[in-house]
Assembly symmetry: C2
Homo-oligomer: 332 residues x 2
């Protein structure tokens, strides 16, 4: 298990990746505090947007800040020790979205990224360049270098808005009729994405939003086929514990696509790889042990373990459990 590829959204994915990294450093130590294992995260960029001339990539940044130890653990997002002086000015000038506040340190990242993009770099090249500052021990790949933004169609009036407007401004309170990935049909996976899936020893699906994070990654042409073709087992972690989403408002997203907010329903939605779906194995929480048989019945090997990532040790244990599940799949 020296080549580990993780499909990931933002905050939940970041915590899971921190566990995977801790697991890799312990089981495959390089003698210098790092690991000889290669961890690659394929990251959702559907939440990305242009805001006041800046290119914002929330999930990439959440992962980067968390793995760099520069995240605000208490607030759950953004940089620790953040201030909002620039945002105050933008509000005074009446630009931007007043409900989407950018921290000053965060704006530094956005300015650097935007500068690289405008200089002609792709998002993956800009991300690599940005990461030169932080020694995170994980390779971050945007799912695509193309701008494939997720839009939400309101079920009230049929109008469309950027996912961030629906999620952050309206707190997912507006019933959504549909999620749309703009221009997805013309997009291609970012360089390295298909290789990272094909060459993986294990593919992990982080406990991220199944619709607008993982679902969005799966929407990029070519990624589903690569996941179907890889020799690596694909092991997912349920983002639902005891019938509730761990964080965020994923239940509103699941409702929109007609999937119940339940550990088994999400697995069945992803589907068994043997039957053309995504998963070889699925980790559910002890609180959901009763539905394990439903997942097994769908052809997905199921493991019941504690899923709650309270801290790095519990996240590391979750990663270890996922690796064990992968090993069991390989030995079948």
């Amino acid at each position: 298990m020296t080549h580990i590829t993780v499909l990931s959204g933002g905050v939940g994915g970041a915590r899971f990746l921190r566990g995977v990294r801790a697991w890799a450093r312990q089981t495959h130590p390089d003698g210098a505090g790092g690991s000889t294992a290669h961890i690659t995260a394929i990251v959702n960029t559907g939440d990305d947007m242009w805001l006041t001339g800046l290119r914002i990539t929330p999930d990439l940044d959440s992962i980067m800040y968390t793995l760099a130890g520069a995240n605000d653990e208490e607030r759950g997002w953004g940089r620790v020790g953040e201030t909002e002086r620039v945002s105050g000015e933008l509000k005074a000038y009446g630009v931007g979205w007043p409900w989407f506040t950018l921290g000053d340190l965060d704006i530094g990242t956005h300015l650097a990224r935007t500068h690289f993009l405008r200089s002609g770099m792709s998002l993956s090249a800009a991300t690599e360049r940005i990461l030169q500052r932080w020694d995170i021990g994980v390779r971050l790949l945007p799912m695509t270098d193309d701008e494939v933004e997720t839009h939400v169609v309101s079920d009230i009036d049929g109008t469309e808005m950027h996912f961030q407007e629906w999620w952050t401004r309206h707190r997912a309170s507006i019933p959504a009729r549909e999620f749309r990935q703009l221009d997805v049909e013309r997009s291609t996976p970012a360089p390295g994405v298909l290789d990272a899936i094909a060459a993986a020893d294990v593919v992990l699906v982080a406990p991220s939003n199944p619709v607008v994070s993982i679902g969005t990654i799966l929407g990029i042409p070519g990624i589903r086929a690569a996941l179907a073709a890889t020799s690596a087992p694909v092991v997912g972690v349920s983002p639902i514990i005891n019938g509730s989403v761990v964080r965020g408002m994923a239940d509103a997203c699941l409702q929109t696509i007609g999937v119940a907010t339940a550990a088994d329903s999400v697995a069945v939605h992803y589907g068994s790889r043997a039957a053309g779906g995504l998963l070889d194995a699925w980790l559910i929480d002890e609180a959901d042990a009763a539905v394990a048989s439903h997942v097994e019945a769908a052809g997905i090997a199921t493991t019941v373990v504690p899923l709650w990532m309270r801290d790095v040790p519990t996240a590391k244990q979750l990663a270890a459990d996922a690796m064990d599940a992968a090993t069991r799949v390989r030995s079948l």
Copy 2:
């Protein structure tokens, strides 16, 4: 004197404009703390540049901040109460110019401006939009909406650099062979500039850098002709007091174009309007009274008054003296 047009650079021009505004409010009060007089500043944009994807307009901002009372009086430039958190991040990412620090509040202005420009607004429209936030009582017009950046040709090796690099990074220490206004021949005055000159009751030339501020404005095709044609008297204030520049390193600029750093030499360089030059009248400091006759001999009416703008009252008195000089020209 209800239509006052001022040619201006940054900090020195800003202080002079504050005096002109105070004079107007006193002599033409509108009963609400403002003035019925119309003050228009035509502002040098040769120092403007793109930096880390932001459009920076130093002179427009110096004037705006100063007239809004938001400037850092002690430091002499930028916003009061400024911080540099974003710049710290940019340095950590290795972007931008490490010798050109942008304050956080200032970056708010640059982000808003850049956003407007990228949305398709001209610089003059963006400036007007930015000014909606500040009630400064002076109309600010960039000299042109085109990007006409001043470059400096090194006399050491003939290479070229942006004026800001020469001025801020190298503190004007590299001998300059020449100043170049990139693409100036294709530029036109911004909307309102020629009208503000034609319809003025008086045109004032602020005590700004005669080469890279005022000289740059005069380089825009059409502006010299408008100044020659206006029925308004053109009155200048010497930026040289007692053979020294009041601030900045204008002496290095004057040396490059072969003009001595002296109150009379600058006037002679500008030239008498009657002889195809710029000036009808010129204000010099009491310390330079001895050279008044040289200016008079060049056909420029000369007034000897205190030029040092210690505070708003002294700047207001200087404005009053300039208005008196204009009145004398008109009565000739």
